[in-house]
């Protein structure tokens, strides 16, 4: 087990380094830096001024050394201008050139400053991640039980009417990406002119004008059923179909096994067979799928946060990318890649733990 784990973690670190380097290169391309110079310096700078701004602010030099500085394994740049003022990567306000640390990258916990939000990136990211954490939590709480129940119900009697209905539902949800289901859900539940809200309001069943709120902006301060139901439903819906189909496939396979037949022939009641014999084995595969669903959830989060204007991690990513906020975008990418890699690792390890038939050499 230990060698497997070490090798797995080693590959993971290598992947993380390679990916962060690729992202670093793609965000620090010459046109992006030029745009940064024009927004941070002045719009009417001449091309020479732009070039010197880029070099004076430490964006010149080799890509790999700049990456090293950002990571914190290469000493941060310093530059003394004509007036004898020394500026540098690690020299912030209130710190003299002599006191400043030599290294200041993400390994030292210095994520840089966001040009959009005008605050340290680390703060932005942790705030927004907390908001998104709530969204993810609710999505998981809705998505996992619902999809497992649907999958087990349709898989335990393959070909039955329940199976047909539930499978069709599952296929339909996998065919509905978040930006489609979000739009449809808003029109049905959160529009004052269409859908069911006008009817309900007319009958006096709801107090407000709509059943749910079409934006989740207020959910940052306080999460309520009213403002959070639609974003959570939108993300969960796409995942439900996929996990349910995997659970169904694994359940139908388990139901054809010898030990299930033996249990049935012994005279064990059907629901006992399902709960005691089939379920545990059938849930191994969906576990992996649920874990690997995280990267997709990230996608859903970006779309839904944009659609419902919920200012979380996904919304921040869009803002960073749209406004050429290099440090923030880099930090977002690192977090996203980290989440993906860690979930992959957990899914691998969990699979081995859950499935005693796998023996690692």
């Amino acid at each position: 087990m230990l060698p497997f784990l070490l090798r797995r973690v080693g590959v993971m670190i290598l992947t993380a380094l390679t990916l962060s380097f690729v992202v670093f290169c793609l965000t620090n391309l010459a046109p992006n830096l030029e745009k940064l110079a024009r927004t941070e310096g002045s719009v009417r700078m001449s091309d020479e001024a732009v070039d010197s701004w880029i070099i004076n602010n430490g964006h010149g030099g080799l890509m790999i050394t700049r990456y090293g500085q950002w990571l914190g394994v290469v000493p941060g740049w310093t530059r003394t201008d004509d007036k004898g003022v020394t500026r540098g990567r690690c020299i912030t306000e209130g710190v003299t050139a002599e006191e400043a640390p030599r290294f200041c990258g993400i390994l030292q916990g210095d994520w840089g400053t966001s040009t959009v939000f005008r605050e340290p990136v680390a703060k932005t990211i942790s705030d927004k991640l907390a908001s998104t954490g709530w969204l993810m939590l609710w999505v998981m709480l809705v998505m996992v039980p619902v999809s497992l129940i649907i999958g087990v119900m349709s898989g335990m009697r393959e070909g039955s009417r329940t199976d047909r209905v539930l499978s069709t539902f599952a296929i339909a949800t996998t065919a509905t990406p978040e930006y489609v289901s979000g739009v449809i859900l808003v029109v049905i539940f959160a529009s004052a002119t269409t859908g069911i809200s006008p009817l309900l309001a007319e009958w006096g069943w709801i107090d407000g004008r709509t059943l749910f709120l079409g934006t989740a902006t207020s959910a940052i301060d306080q999460i309520t059923f009213w403002n959070f139901a639609l974003p959570v439903m939108t993300i969960a819906l796409y995942g439900i179909g996929y996990i349910a189909r995997m659970t169904r496939a694994s359940m139908t396979e388990v139901m054809t096994q010898q030990y299930i037949r033996t249990a049935r022939l012994k005279g064990v009641a059907f629901h006992q067979v399902i709960l005691k014999h089939a379920l545990r084995n059938a849930l191994i595969a969906p576990f992996t799928v649920i874990m690997l669903q995280f990267p997709w959830l990230l996608n859903g989060v970006v779309i839904v946060e944009t659609l419902f204007n919920y200012k979380g991690f996904g919304w921040t990513l869009v803002q960073a990318a749209g406004n050429n906020d290099i440090q923030l975008l880099l930090a977002c990418s690192v977090v996203a890649v980290f989440v993906v890699l860690v979930t992959q690792l957990i899914s691998d390890i969990g699979y081995v733990f859950l499935n005693p038939r796998i023996r690692l050499s």
């Binding site: 590959v11 290598l14 992947t15 390679t18 990916l19 690729v22 992202v23 793609l26 965000t27 391309l29 010459a30 046109p31 992006n32 745009k35 296929i171 339909a172 996998t174 065919a175 509905t176 990406p177 930006y179 489609v180 739009v183 449809i184 808003v186 029109v187 959160a190 529009s191 004052a192 002119t193 269409t194 709509t210 079409g214 990267p295 990230l298 996608n299 970006v302 779309i303 944009t306 659609l307 996904g314 990513l317 869009v318 990318a321 975008l329 977002c332 990418s333 996203a336 890649v337 993906v340 890699l341 992959q344």
Partner: protein, 383 residues
Amino acid sequence: MEPLSWPMIFAKMAVQFWPVWLALIVTVALSLQFRRRLGLYGKLFDSNVGMTGFVIVMFWVFTALFADMIITFDPIAQLSGLKNVVPGTPVPDSDQWYLLGGDHLARDVFSRVVMGARRVLTIAPAATVIAFMVGITLGLPAGYFGGKLDTGLSFIANLVLAFPVILLFYLLVTPEIRSTGVPIALAAVLFLFPVIFVSVLLNSRYFTTPARRNLYVGVALVLGLWAYSGLAFNADPTGIWSMDPNLLNVFVSVVFVNAPTVFRIVRGIVMDLKSRDYVAAGQTRGEGAWYIMLWEILPNARGPLIVDFCLRIGYTTILLGTLGFFGLGVSPESPDWGSTIDDGRRLLSIYPHPAVVPALALMSLVLGLNLLADGLREESMRD
């Protein structure tokens, strides 16, 4: 003229779609007539799920083909006074209606959705085909030879797969990145694989008869490299093969996202199939490695690959919609469904129709593809 009621709107739309109905009836009738002679395709008509999926997909394919005959207005024409009008509003100075209303720029939603089908259905299948060729060309040797080649290629594939798709799109599909030449470099690499695939395929089959081999491989190379120069570098002297830089950027990123998954699937299948007896028989007969991979293993792997192909077109459609939704790499005039949804969502709770119509269109196409894949899977398992 009076505004139309909903039943009248649907009736008018059904009439507008007449070439599609005609083509559908002909296709289904012919297929049902000859289904016993059509192999897997014919068997599709034995399952209700598969047939439903097939009809939905073909509906959109024919819509894309006959889009010019179906549309009622120019999809980018803006008619004054028809901004955000409700479905069924008559158009002044003409005998037509805005069947599904007008959008925020007073364009006809119905015509835009129909034209959008053409755009989606040209990019998505083409990108999927290229992604499959890349995945197959790399996945076959990785699975067959294993070893260092496999480790290296798998590592690269996992790298791409560890990227959240949206992030990759934001990094790859921006106007800035086009000036650095990254999309062209990616295109240069990715578009080379179809040429390699076809050449190796023909070479391994005919290398025992050099005369025919030279002819076939030569023709394939000339045609392939001609298309390659035009599509990747826009350097085709005759100008037949060319691609809008915006489109190239979108196309390449979609291929780039899809190819690693195909690679993994192909690799997995090959690792499973290479221990079969017919592969051992081929090896003892002295067949070349590429002949065994391309002409013995690949045909036997077709079942899961065809199923995945259908699913992947749907997935690519979703990805293209995502790109449009974020306004990446598409011109504002473009009628593709993703950007139309994006335009419509701003006024969603007041005027839902400009966003809902393309949303339903996209959903039905992907649903059709998923059902088709399900039907194919069921039928191919019965073989």
